[in-house]
Protein backbone atom coordinates (compact mmCIF):
# COMPACT_ATOMS: atom_id res chain seq x y z
CA UNK A 1 0.00 0.00 0.00
CA UNK A 2 1.35 3.39 -1.02
CA UNK A 3 1.26 6.19 1.52
CA UNK A 4 -0.07 8.64 -1.05
CA UNK A 5 -3.15 6.53 -1.63
CA UNK A 6 -3.95 6.07 2.03
CA UNK A 7 -6.88 8.21 3.13
CA UNK A 8 -5.73 10.79 5.68
CA UNK A 9 -8.75 12.96 6.15
CA UNK A 10 -10.89 12.33 9.20
CA UNK A 11 -13.99 10.31 8.44
CA UNK A 12 -17.28 12.10 7.95
CA UNK A 13 -18.64 13.71 11.07
CA UNK A 14 -20.00 11.05 13.43
CA UNK A 15 -18.77 8.17 11.23
CA UNK A 16 -16.58 5.69 13.05
CA UNK A 17 -14.63 3.07 11.12
CA UNK A 18 -14.05 -0.44 12.42
CA UNK A 19 -10.74 -1.19 14.07
CA UNK A 20 -9.76 -3.92 11.63
CA UNK A 21 -10.33 -1.59 8.71
CA UNK A 22 -8.20 1.10 10.32
CA UNK A 23 -5.45 -1.37 11.22
CA UNK A 24 -5.25 -2.64 7.65
CA UNK A 25 -5.08 0.91 6.27
CA UNK A 26 -2.59 2.36 8.71
CA UNK A 27 -0.22 -0.52 9.37
CA UNK A 28 2.32 0.56 6.77
CA UNK A 29 2.25 4.15 7.95
CA UNK A 30 2.82 3.19 11.59
CA UNK A 31 5.57 0.78 10.65
CA UNK A 32 7.37 3.40 8.57
CA UNK A 33 7.17 5.90 11.37
CA UNK A 34 8.64 3.44 13.82
CA UNK A 35 11.44 2.41 11.45
CA UNK A 36 12.48 6.05 11.08
CA UNK A 37 12.11 6.77 14.77
CA UNK A 38 14.01 3.79 16.10
CA UNK A 39 16.35 3.15 13.20
CA UNK A 40 15.81 -0.55 13.81
CA UNK A 41 13.47 -2.60 11.63
CA UNK A 42 13.28 -5.49 14.03
CA UNK A 43 12.36 -3.24 16.89
CA UNK A 44 9.94 -1.34 14.66
CA UNK A 45 8.10 -4.57 13.89
CA UNK A 46 7.65 -5.45 17.55
CA UNK A 47 6.72 -1.93 18.46
CA UNK A 48 4.18 -1.76 15.65
CA UNK A 49 2.48 -4.89 16.95
CA UNK A 50 2.47 -3.46 20.46
CA UNK A 51 1.07 -0.18 19.15
CA UNK A 52 -1.90 -1.87 17.58
CA UNK A 53 -2.49 -3.94 20.69
CA UNK A 54 -2.70 -0.78 22.78
CA UNK A 55 -4.81 0.91 20.16
CA UNK A 56 -7.26 -1.96 20.19
CA UNK A 57 -7.62 -1.74 23.98
CA UNK A 58 -8.29 1.96 23.89
CA UNK A 59 -10.24 2.04 20.63
CA UNK A 60 -13.45 3.15 22.32
CA UNK A 61 -11.75 6.35 23.43
CA UNK A 62 -10.87 7.36 19.89
CA UNK A 63 -13.01 10.27 18.65
CA UNK A 64 -12.89 10.64 14.84
CA UNK A 65 -14.11 14.23 15.17
CA UNK A 66 -10.91 15.24 16.94
CA UNK A 67 -8.36 13.80 14.49
CA UNK A 68 -7.55 11.13 11.98
CA UNK A 69 -6.87 7.52 12.97
CA UNK A 70 -3.33 7.93 11.61
CA UNK A 71 -2.55 10.78 14.02
CA UNK A 72 -4.03 8.87 16.93
CA UNK A 73 -2.07 5.73 16.09
CA UNK A 74 1.17 7.68 15.67
CA UNK A 75 0.72 9.14 19.16
CA UNK A 76 0.39 5.68 20.59
CA UNK A 77 3.35 4.45 18.55
CA UNK A 78 5.47 7.31 19.81
CA UNK A 79 4.64 6.51 23.39
CA UNK A 80 5.51 2.86 22.84
CA UNK A 81 8.77 3.84 21.15
CA UNK A 82 9.77 6.17 23.95
CA UNK A 83 9.34 3.34 26.45
CA UNK A 84 11.53 1.25 24.19
CA UNK A 85 14.18 4.00 24.07
CA UNK A 86 14.19 4.18 27.85
CA UNK A 87 14.54 0.45 28.16
CA UNK A 88 17.33 0.45 25.57
CA UNK A 89 19.17 3.22 27.38
CA UNK A 90 19.01 1.31 30.64
CA UNK A 91 20.14 -1.88 28.94
CA UNK A 92 23.08 -0.19 27.24
CA UNK A 93 24.14 1.46 30.47
CA UNK A 94 24.09 -1.92 32.13
CA UNK A 95 26.18 -3.36 29.32
CA UNK A 96 28.52 -0.33 29.45
CA UNK A 97 27.76 0.69 25.91
CA UNK A 98 27.06 4.40 25.80
CA UNK A 99 27.32 4.96 22.07
CA UNK A 100 24.30 4.21 19.95
CA UNK A 101 25.62 1.80 17.37
CA UNK A 102 23.35 1.35 14.39
CA UNK A 103 24.06 -1.56 12.16
CA UNK A 104 25.56 -0.42 8.87
CA UNK A 105 23.13 -2.63 7.01
CA UNK A 106 20.07 -1.07 8.72
CA UNK A 107 17.67 -0.05 6.00
CA UNK A 108 15.35 2.87 6.31
CA UNK A 109 13.67 2.13 3.05
CA UNK A 110 13.56 -0.53 0.41
CA UNK A 111 16.12 0.45 -2.24
CA UNK A 112 16.91 3.82 -0.70
CA UNK A 113 20.08 5.29 -2.22
CA UNK A 114 23.19 4.78 -0.11
CA UNK A 115 23.98 8.47 0.48
CA UNK A 116 20.46 9.10 1.66
CA UNK A 117 20.61 6.01 3.85
CA UNK A 118 23.78 7.28 5.51
CA UNK A 119 22.35 10.74 5.82
CA UNK A 120 19.35 9.32 7.66
CA UNK A 121 21.66 7.41 9.98
CA UNK A 122 23.35 10.66 10.91
CA UNK A 123 20.10 12.28 12.00
CA UNK A 124 18.86 12.00 15.56
CA UNK A 125 15.70 10.00 16.28
CA UNK A 126 13.82 13.26 16.88
CA UNK A 127 14.76 14.55 13.45
CA UNK A 128 13.96 11.29 11.74
CA UNK A 129 10.55 11.05 13.32
CA UNK A 130 9.47 14.48 12.10
CA UNK A 131 10.64 13.55 8.60
CA UNK A 132 8.64 10.32 8.83
CA UNK A 133 5.49 12.08 10.01
CA UNK A 134 5.54 14.96 7.54
CA UNK A 135 7.12 13.38 4.49
CA UNK A 136 6.35 9.65 4.58
CA UNK A 137 3.04 9.68 6.41
CA UNK A 138 2.05 13.05 4.94
CA UNK A 139 0.50 14.32 8.16
CA UNK A 140 -0.30 18.01 8.09
CA UNK A 141 1.44 20.46 10.39
CA UNK A 142 -1.15 20.49 13.21
CA UNK A 143 -1.48 16.70 13.26
CA UNK A 144 2.28 16.13 13.33
CA UNK A 145 2.65 18.72 16.07
CA UNK A 146 -0.05 16.95 18.07
CA UNK A 147 1.75 13.61 17.76
CA UNK A 148 5.05 15.16 18.84
CA UNK A 149 3.50 17.21 21.58
CA UNK A 150 5.08 20.43 20.36
CA UNK A 151 3.87 23.62 18.69
CA UNK A 152 3.36 23.82 14.94
CA UNK A 153 6.16 26.33 14.66
CA UNK A 154 8.56 24.05 16.46
CA UNK A 155 7.48 21.16 14.26
CA UNK A 156 8.08 23.16 11.07
CA UNK A 157 11.46 24.32 12.33
CA UNK A 158 12.48 20.79 13.22
CA UNK A 159 11.44 19.51 9.80
CA UNK A 160 13.30 22.24 7.94
CA UNK A 161 16.42 21.59 9.95
CA UNK A 162 16.18 17.83 9.40
CA UNK A 163 15.72 18.18 5.65
CA UNK A 164 18.55 20.68 5.45
CA UNK A 165 20.82 18.35 7.35
CA UNK A 166 19.84 15.48 5.05
CA UNK A 167 20.63 17.59 2.05
CA UNK A 168 23.95 18.79 3.47
CA UNK A 169 24.88 15.27 4.45
CA UNK A 170 24.03 13.93 1.01
CA UNK A 171 26.17 16.62 -0.56
CA UNK A 172 29.06 15.68 1.74
CA UNK A 173 28.70 12.01 0.90
CA UNK A 174 28.55 12.69 -2.82
CA UNK A 175 31.71 14.75 -2.56
Amino acid sequence: MNAASTPLDAPALGARPGFAEVAAEQLDAVYRYLVYLTGDRGAAEDLAAETFEKAFRSWRRFDPRRGSPRTWLCKIARSVAIDWFRAETRRRKREDRYARDLSASEDFGDGLPGPLQEALHALSPAEREVVALRVLLELDGPSAARVLGISQTACSTRLSRALRRLEERMDDVRE
Binding site: A4, A49, R60, P113, P125, E167
Partner: protein, 344 residues
Protein backbone atom coordinates in the same frame (compact mmCIF):
# COMPACT_ATOMS: atom_id res chain seq x y z
CA UNK B 1 11.71 24.61 -0.39
CA UNK B 2 14.78 23.87 -2.51
CA UNK B 3 14.91 21.51 -5.45
CA UNK B 4 17.25 19.27 -3.51
CA UNK B 5 14.79 19.00 -0.65
CA UNK B 6 12.11 18.08 -3.15
CA UNK B 7 14.36 15.38 -4.45
CA UNK B 8 15.04 14.10 -0.95
CA UNK B 9 11.34 14.01 -0.14
CA UNK B 10 10.39 12.26 -3.33
CA UNK B 11 13.15 9.72 -2.80
CA UNK B 12 12.04 9.06 0.74
CA UNK B 13 8.45 8.56 -0.37
CA UNK B 14 9.36 6.38 -3.27
CA UNK B 15 11.41 4.05 -1.09
CA UNK B 16 9.24 4.03 2.00
CA UNK B 17 9.42 0.69 3.86
CA UNK B 18 6.42 -1.63 3.93
CA UNK B 19 5.24 -3.70 6.84
CA UNK B 20 6.37 -7.31 6.50
CA UNK B 21 3.69 -9.92 5.87
CA UNK B 22 4.36 -11.55 9.22
CA UNK B 23 3.60 -8.31 11.03
CA UNK B 24 0.50 -7.73 8.95
CA UNK B 25 -0.83 -11.17 9.76
CA UNK B 26 -0.02 -10.68 13.46
CA UNK B 27 -1.81 -7.36 13.71
CA UNK B 28 -4.86 -8.17 11.61
CA UNK B 29 -5.38 -11.48 13.36
CA UNK B 30 -6.00 -9.75 16.65
CA UNK B 31 -8.18 -6.95 15.30
CA UNK B 32 -11.96 -7.39 15.57
CA UNK B 33 -14.11 -6.51 12.59
CA UNK B 34 -16.36 -4.08 14.36
CA UNK B 35 -16.39 -2.54 17.74
CA UNK B 36 -19.01 -0.19 19.04
CA UNK B 37 -18.08 2.61 21.32
CA UNK B 38 -19.97 2.99 24.52
CA UNK B 39 -20.36 6.23 26.38
CA UNK B 40 -18.73 9.60 26.01
CA UNK B 41 -14.99 10.24 25.80
CA UNK B 42 -13.47 11.38 29.10
CA UNK B 43 -13.21 15.07 28.14
CA UNK B 44 -16.81 15.29 27.03
CA UNK B 45 -17.84 13.40 30.12
CA UNK B 46 -16.02 15.99 32.24
CA UNK B 47 -17.69 18.84 30.35
CA UNK B 48 -21.08 17.29 31.00
CA UNK B 49 -20.37 16.15 34.55
CA UNK B 50 -19.16 19.55 35.76
CA UNK B 51 -22.36 21.52 35.05
CA UNK B 52 -24.44 18.61 36.32
CA UNK B 53 -22.47 18.56 39.57
CA UNK B 54 -22.89 22.32 39.97
CA UNK B 55 -26.60 22.00 39.27
CA UNK B 56 -26.93 19.24 41.84
CA UNK B 57 -25.08 21.38 44.38
CA UNK B 58 -27.46 24.30 43.87
CA UNK B 59 -30.49 21.99 43.95
CA UNK B 60 -29.27 20.45 47.21
CA UNK B 61 -28.85 23.92 48.68
CA UNK B 62 -32.41 24.87 47.68
CA UNK B 63 -33.86 21.65 49.08
CA UNK B 64 -31.92 22.23 52.28
CA UNK B 65 -33.31 25.75 52.42
CA UNK B 66 -36.89 24.60 51.90
CA UNK B 67 -36.60 21.85 54.50
CA UNK B 68 -34.97 24.09 57.09
CA UNK B 69 -37.46 26.90 56.57
CA UNK B 70 -40.25 24.38 57.05
CA UNK B 71 -38.77 22.97 60.26
CA UNK B 72 -39.30 26.24 62.05
CA UNK B 73 -43.03 26.01 61.47
CA UNK B 74 -43.44 22.39 62.53
CA UNK B 75 -44.72 21.15 65.84
CA UNK B 76 -45.48 17.65 66.95
CA UNK B 77 -48.20 18.82 69.26
CA UNK B 78 -49.78 15.39 69.42
CA UNK B 79 -46.39 13.76 70.14
CA UNK B 80 -47.28 10.65 68.18
CA UNK B 81 -43.86 10.04 66.61
CA UNK B 82 -41.66 11.18 69.45
CA UNK B 83 -39.97 13.81 67.30
CA UNK B 84 -38.62 17.01 68.82
CA UNK B 85 -40.60 20.13 67.91
CA UNK B 86 -39.47 23.71 67.82
CA UNK B 87 -41.71 26.73 67.98
CA UNK B 88 -40.77 30.37 67.69
CA UNK B 89 -42.98 33.20 68.69
CA UNK B 90 -44.02 34.41 65.24
CA UNK B 91 -44.75 30.97 63.77
CA UNK B 92 -46.72 29.77 66.77
CA UNK B 93 -49.24 32.54 66.26
CA UNK B 94 -49.76 31.73 62.61
CA UNK B 95 -49.32 28.03 62.39
CA UNK B 96 -51.25 26.35 65.11
CA UNK B 97 -54.90 26.55 66.03
CA UNK B 98 -53.99 25.19 69.41
CA UNK B 99 -51.56 28.04 69.85
CA UNK B 100 -54.27 30.57 69.02
CA UNK B 101 -56.65 28.85 71.36
CA UNK B 102 -54.04 28.98 74.05
CA UNK B 103 -53.46 32.65 73.38
CA UNK B 104 -57.17 33.35 73.84
CA UNK B 105 -57.24 31.17 76.88
CA UNK B 106 -54.30 32.87 78.52
CA UNK B 107 -55.24 36.27 77.21
CA UNK B 108 -51.68 37.31 76.56
CA UNK B 109 -49.64 37.51 73.34
CA UNK B 110 -46.46 36.83 75.24
CA UNK B 111 -47.66 33.37 76.17
CA UNK B 112 -48.31 32.33 72.56
CA UNK B 113 -45.23 30.15 72.51
CA UNK B 114 -46.19 28.54 75.77
CA UNK B 115 -49.63 27.83 74.36
CA UNK B 116 -48.11 25.81 71.55
CA UNK B 117 -47.06 23.16 74.03
CA UNK B 118 -49.97 20.94 73.20
CA UNK B 119 -48.39 17.56 73.72
CA UNK B 120 -50.86 15.24 75.37
CA UNK B 121 -50.38 15.34 79.11
CA UNK B 122 -50.37 11.55 79.34
CA UNK B 123 -47.11 11.31 77.40
CA UNK B 124 -43.67 11.78 78.83
CA UNK B 125 -41.82 14.62 77.16
CA UNK B 126 -38.86 16.88 77.75
CA UNK B 127 -39.19 20.57 77.17
CA UNK B 128 -36.38 22.94 76.34
CA UNK B 129 -37.15 26.60 76.14
CA UNK B 130 -35.11 29.73 75.63
CA UNK B 131 -36.26 33.28 76.16
CA UNK B 132 -34.55 36.56 75.41
CA UNK B 133 -35.97 39.52 77.27
CA UNK B 134 -35.06 43.19 77.16
CA UNK B 135 -35.27 45.49 80.15
CA UNK B 136 -34.73 49.23 80.50
CA UNK B 137 -31.55 49.56 82.50
CA UNK B 138 -29.19 47.76 84.82
CA UNK B 139 -31.45 48.31 87.82
CA UNK B 140 -34.29 46.60 85.99
CA UNK B 141 -31.84 43.90 84.95
CA UNK B 142 -30.89 43.17 88.50
CA UNK B 143 -34.54 43.08 89.62
CA UNK B 144 -35.57 40.86 86.73
CA UNK B 145 -32.78 38.42 87.45
CA UNK B 146 -33.85 38.08 91.06
CA UNK B 147 -37.51 37.69 90.11
CA UNK B 148 -36.66 35.01 87.55
CA UNK B 149 -35.00 32.78 90.13
CA UNK B 150 -37.92 33.34 92.52
CA UNK B 151 -40.39 32.34 89.82
CA UNK B 152 -38.55 29.08 89.30
CA UNK B 153 -38.39 28.40 93.04
CA UNK B 154 -42.07 29.18 93.54
CA UNK B 155 -42.99 26.60 90.95
CA UNK B 156 -40.93 23.86 92.53
CA UNK B 157 -37.85 24.38 90.43
CA UNK B 158 -34.45 25.98 90.84
CA UNK B 159 -31.82 28.05 89.08
CA UNK B 160 -29.04 25.76 87.98
CA UNK B 161 -26.72 28.63 87.03
CA UNK B 162 -26.77 32.42 86.85
CA UNK B 163 -24.29 34.57 84.94
CA UNK B 164 -24.60 38.27 85.42
CA UNK B 165 -22.51 41.00 83.86
CA UNK B 166 -22.91 44.73 84.05
CA UNK B 167 -19.97 46.59 82.49
CA UNK B 168 -19.05 50.19 83.39
CA UNK B 169 -19.95 51.44 79.94
CA UNK B 170 -23.58 50.69 80.58
CA UNK B 171 -25.83 47.93 79.51
CA UNK B 172 -25.66 44.47 80.90
CA UNK B 173 -26.93 40.96 80.52
CA UNK B 174 -27.77 37.96 82.62
CA UNK B 175 -27.98 34.35 81.50
CA UNK B 176 -29.98 32.09 83.78
CA UNK B 177 -30.33 28.33 83.42
CA UNK B 178 -33.58 27.30 85.12
CA UNK B 179 -35.12 23.96 85.88
CA UNK B 180 -38.83 23.67 86.60
CA UNK B 181 -41.17 20.70 86.94
CA UNK B 182 -42.54 19.79 83.53
CA UNK B 183 -46.14 20.35 84.55
CA UNK B 184 -45.33 23.95 85.45
CA UNK B 185 -43.33 24.92 82.39
CA UNK B 186 -46.19 26.79 80.74
CA UNK B 187 -46.84 28.85 83.80
CA UNK B 188 -43.11 29.49 84.20
CA UNK B 189 -42.75 30.74 80.64
CA UNK B 190 -45.80 32.93 80.97
CA UNK B 191 -44.50 34.51 84.18
CA UNK B 192 -40.95 34.91 82.88
CA UNK B 193 -42.29 36.58 79.76
CA UNK B 194 -43.70 39.29 81.97
CA UNK B 195 -40.25 40.35 83.20
CA UNK B 196 -39.67 42.61 80.24
CA UNK B 197 -40.06 42.91 76.47
CA UNK B 198 -39.72 39.62 74.69
CA UNK B 199 -37.07 39.71 72.01
CA UNK B 200 -37.20 36.06 71.03
CA UNK B 201 -38.53 32.75 72.24
CA UNK B 202 -37.80 29.23 71.25
CA UNK B 203 -39.33 26.00 72.41
CA UNK B 204 -38.52 22.43 71.64
CA UNK B 205 -40.40 19.44 72.92
CA UNK B 206 -38.96 15.95 72.68
CA UNK B 207 -41.32 13.10 73.27
CA UNK B 208 -39.82 10.50 75.59
CA UNK B 209 -42.79 8.16 75.88
CA UNK B 210 -41.59 5.66 73.29
CA UNK B 211 -38.15 5.54 74.82
CA UNK B 212 -39.69 5.01 78.25
CA UNK B 213 -41.89 2.20 76.95
CA UNK B 214 -38.94 0.49 75.29
CA UNK B 215 -36.86 0.72 78.43
CA UNK B 216 -39.72 -0.62 80.56
CA UNK B 217 -40.23 -3.53 78.19
CA UNK B 218 -36.53 -4.35 78.31
CA UNK B 219 -36.55 -4.27 82.11
CA UNK B 220 -39.61 -6.55 82.26
CA UNK B 221 -37.97 -8.99 79.89
CA UNK B 222 -34.81 -8.99 81.96
CA UNK B 223 -36.83 -9.63 85.14
CA UNK B 224 -38.40 -12.65 83.45
CA UNK B 225 -34.99 -13.88 82.45
CA UNK B 226 -33.70 -13.46 86.00
CA UNK B 227 -36.69 -15.43 87.34
CA UNK B 228 -36.11 -18.19 84.81
CA UNK B 229 -32.41 -18.37 85.67
CA UNK B 230 -33.15 -18.52 89.40
CA UNK B 231 -35.60 -21.34 88.82
CA UNK B 232 -33.07 -23.21 86.71
CA UNK B 233 -30.29 -22.75 89.28
CA UNK B 234 -32.59 -24.08 92.04
CA UNK B 235 -32.88 -27.40 90.20
CA UNK B 236 -30.86 -29.86 92.26
CA UNK B 237 -30.27 -32.22 89.36
CA UNK B 238 -28.30 -29.60 87.43
CA UNK B 239 -24.62 -30.42 86.83
CA UNK B 240 -22.24 -28.14 88.67
CA UNK B 241 -20.59 -26.81 85.53
CA UNK B 242 -23.92 -25.80 84.12
CA UNK B 243 -24.93 -24.23 87.40
CA UNK B 244 -21.80 -22.07 87.29
CA UNK B 245 -22.66 -20.94 83.76
CA UNK B 246 -26.20 -20.08 84.78
CA UNK B 247 -24.92 -18.08 87.73
CA UNK B 248 -22.71 -16.07 85.41
CA UNK B 249 -25.70 -15.40 83.14
CA UNK B 250 -27.77 -14.45 86.17
CA UNK B 251 -25.15 -11.92 87.27
CA UNK B 252 -25.09 -10.44 83.77
CA UNK B 253 -28.85 -10.23 83.67
CA UNK B 254 -29.00 -8.49 87.03
CA UNK B 255 -26.36 -6.03 85.91
CA UNK B 256 -28.38 -5.33 82.76
CA UNK B 257 -31.49 -4.77 84.87
CA UNK B 258 -29.64 -2.24 86.98
CA UNK B 259 -28.34 -0.43 83.88
CA UNK B 260 -31.75 -0.29 82.21
CA UNK B 261 -33.38 0.85 85.42
CA UNK B 262 -30.90 3.70 85.77
CA UNK B 263 -31.47 4.67 82.17
CA UNK B 264 -35.23 4.66 82.67
CA UNK B 265 -34.91 6.79 85.75
CA UNK B 266 -32.88 9.22 83.70
CA UNK B 267 -35.66 9.30 81.14
CA UNK B 268 -38.21 9.93 83.84
CA UNK B 269 -36.07 12.70 85.28
CA UNK B 270 -35.71 14.29 81.87
CA UNK B 271 -39.44 14.15 81.40
CA UNK B 272 -40.15 15.43 84.88
CA UNK B 273 -38.05 18.56 84.53
CA UNK B 274 -38.09 21.23 81.86
CA UNK B 275 -35.12 23.44 81.05
CA UNK B 276 -35.50 27.12 80.44
CA UNK B 277 -32.58 29.26 79.35
CA UNK B 278 -33.36 32.86 80.08
CA UNK B 279 -31.29 35.76 78.76
CA UNK B 280 -32.14 39.19 80.15
CA UNK B 281 -30.41 42.20 78.76
CA UNK B 282 -30.63 45.93 78.63
CA UNK B 283 -31.36 47.77 75.38
CA UNK B 284 -27.68 48.07 74.55
CA UNK B 285 -27.00 44.42 75.13
CA UNK B 286 -29.94 42.83 73.36
CA UNK B 287 -30.73 43.46 69.72
CA UNK B 288 -34.15 42.26 68.57
CA UNK B 289 -34.05 39.46 66.04
CA UNK B 290 -35.97 40.30 62.94
CA UNK B 291 -38.52 37.69 62.01
CA UNK B 292 -38.16 36.37 58.53
CA UNK B 293 -40.76 35.10 56.16
CA UNK B 294 -40.53 31.60 54.75
CA UNK B 295 -38.93 32.65 51.48
CA UNK B 296 -36.37 34.70 53.33
CA UNK B 297 -35.51 31.78 55.61
CA UNK B 298 -35.28 29.45 52.62
CA UNK B 299 -32.89 31.73 50.80
CA UNK B 300 -30.85 32.29 53.93
CA UNK B 301 -30.52 28.52 54.49
CA UNK B 302 -29.78 27.88 50.84
CA UNK B 303 -27.05 30.52 50.76
CA UNK B 304 -25.58 29.10 53.94
CA UNK B 305 -25.55 25.63 52.40
CA UNK B 306 -23.93 26.96 49.21
CA UNK B 307 -21.29 28.67 51.33
CA UNK B 308 -20.64 25.34 53.04
CA UNK B 309 -20.29 23.62 49.66
CA UNK B 310 -17.90 26.33 48.50
CA UNK B 311 -15.81 25.86 51.63
CA UNK B 312 -15.61 22.14 51.03
CA UNK B 313 -14.62 22.70 47.40
CA UNK B 314 -11.94 25.16 48.51
CA UNK B 315 -10.65 22.70 51.07
CA UNK B 316 -10.43 19.97 48.45
CA UNK B 317 -8.63 22.38 46.12
CA UNK B 318 -6.11 23.27 48.80
CA UNK B 319 -5.45 19.62 49.52
CA UNK B 320 -5.22 18.65 45.85
CA UNK B 321 -3.12 21.62 44.67
CA UNK B 322 0.25 20.37 45.90
CA UNK B 323 -0.45 16.99 44.34
CA UNK B 324 -1.42 18.65 41.07
CA UNK B 325 1.76 20.72 41.19
CA UNK B 326 3.86 17.63 41.84
CA UNK B 327 2.13 15.84 38.94
CA UNK B 328 2.84 18.81 36.66
CA UNK B 329 6.50 18.83 37.64
CA UNK B 330 6.78 15.09 37.01
CA UNK B 331 5.14 15.54 33.61
CA UNK B 332 7.57 18.32 32.74
CA UNK B 333 10.54 16.25 33.81
CA UNK B 334 9.38 13.27 31.74
CA UNK B 335 8.88 15.54 28.74
CA UNK B 336 12.42 16.86 29.05
CA UNK B 337 13.82 13.37 29.43
CA UNK B 338 12.03 12.28 26.24
CA UNK B 339 13.52 15.21 24.37
CA UNK B 340 16.97 14.20 25.60
CA UNK B 341 16.39 10.58 24.61
CA UNK B 342 15.37 11.46 21.07
CA UNK B 343 18.02 14.10 20.58
CA UNK B 344 20.84 11.65 21.17
Amino acid sequence: MSANELTVESLLRAHAPHAPEGLRARVLEGAPVAQTRLGLPPRRLALVALPVACGLGVAAALVHGVVRSGDHANSSAQGGAGVAASVTTAESLHSFDSARAAVKQHGSASSAAAGALAIASSRLAHTDASLQIRVGDTDALSAATTRATRIATSLGGYAKSVQYSSPQTGGGAATIDLRVPAQNVKVAIARLSGLGTIVSQQLSVADLQDRFKTQSAQIAQLHRRVAALLKAIADSSLPEAQRVLLRIQLAEAKRAVAQRTNARQGTLAAGATARIELVIGTEKAIVPVSHRGRLDRMLHSAVGFLALEAMIALYVLIVVSPLALAAALVWLWRRRSVDRLLAA
